[in-house]
């Protein structure tokens, strides 16, 4: 498929679904961190499990080869530190990079400001790069990049565990939501 068409179409689906999920709305997004709205956990875990099982099924059917897929390298220290910073940025700013684009397209000026901050953060990182370059490869796990290697098990068992975890999130999250002020439904 042509690069431009492929990017536009898949991106369109991504943006459309994120907006429909309510992920252009910072009140709904940060509701996850206040435990009043579990949509972020539910949507993310459902998508992860669906895709992981889909990729596994396609692999066993011989349609794709897993080693042809991009798997992020196991710089676990860098992932932990970066994840924490993105998490703090999310809780202060109300968005993550992708959802800020969705927020902006639904007219949210704060999402536009967040995006400007995102570019500034990239500039600051680039200026500091000579000093902090080593941080980006911190804590490498050298045995392999996937949970199969780490846990010494097959992807079937990992996916079964993830399905159970996802169901638990829906049940537990729904229960907490009922006891709190409730979810953000629209706007």
């Amino acid at each position: 498929m042509n690069e431009i068409i492929s990017g536009l179409m898949l991106g369109f689906g991504f943006g459309f679904v994120l907006e429909r999920a309510g992920f252009g709305n910072p009140n709904k997004l940060t509701g996850q961190f206040r435990f009043t709205d579990w949509s972020v956990f539910k949507v993310m875990f459902t998508a992860i499990v669906f895709t992981a099982i889909g990729l596994m099924a396609l692999k066993y059917l011989g349609y794709i080869q897993i080693d042809q897929l991009f798997v992020p390298p196991a710089f676990l220290g860098a992932a932990a530190l970066g994840g924490a910073l993105v998490g703090v940025g999310f809780s202060i700013g109300g968005y993550c990079p992708g959802t800020s684009i969705v927020g902006l397209m639904s007219g949210r000026i704060d999402a536009g400001i967040f995006l400007i901050g995102l570019l500034l953060g990239t500039v600051i990182f680039s200026l500091a790069y000579p000093v902090i370059e080593s941080v980006t490869s911190l804590g490498e796990y050298t045995q392999g990049d996937t949970l199969m290697v780490l846990l010494n098990t097959s992807d079937i068992y990992i996916n079964i565990a993830m399905v159970i975890a996802a169901i638990a999130i829906f049940i537990f999250g729904g229960w907490i939501e009922k006891r709190s002020s409730g979810t953000v439904c629209s706007k």
Binding site: L8, G54, A79, V88, G107
Partner: protein, 175 residues
Amino acid sequence: MQENKNTIKPSAYWNPLVAGLALGLVLLLTFVSTGHGLGATGFTTRLTAWLGMQVVPAATLANNYLGGMAEDAYPLDAWISWQVIGVAIGALVSAYLAHRIYFQLDGKVFLGGTKRPITALVGGLLAGFGARIAAGCTSGLGLSGAATLSIAAFVFLGTFFAAGILATKLMKVGQ
């Protein structure tokens, strides 16, 4: 799906299970057709390099991180840039059809009140910086990586939620 053209009342958000399955379908299609997942900061990093070239070309080219990207890359040469443009169009179409387009400074209730522009800027700055440390963001590393069962992705998601929950508690104290 109820569609009533005569009302401007915004339609409700999708049920999380429906949204999650739809997102999973888009992500799976992306992997099957491109070999990688979805992302966002791959574009903003290229955009930063390109903007740098427009404003301070010598300094941008000399920069260890952005230099290589600025030299040979026009942002629109990269798949991720078109994907992000697609995200913007998809979100716009969805918000329009759901009657959800409002020009507003949102998030004041939970995110700093009158200081909302500052929390938006600082939050974006931290997220932008952090995404470069981890070489990915919530969608590029967390979501897409976890679907490939990447260890780094699960570590990223773990600290992302833990730090986010902690910071939210501290924000409340500050108010």
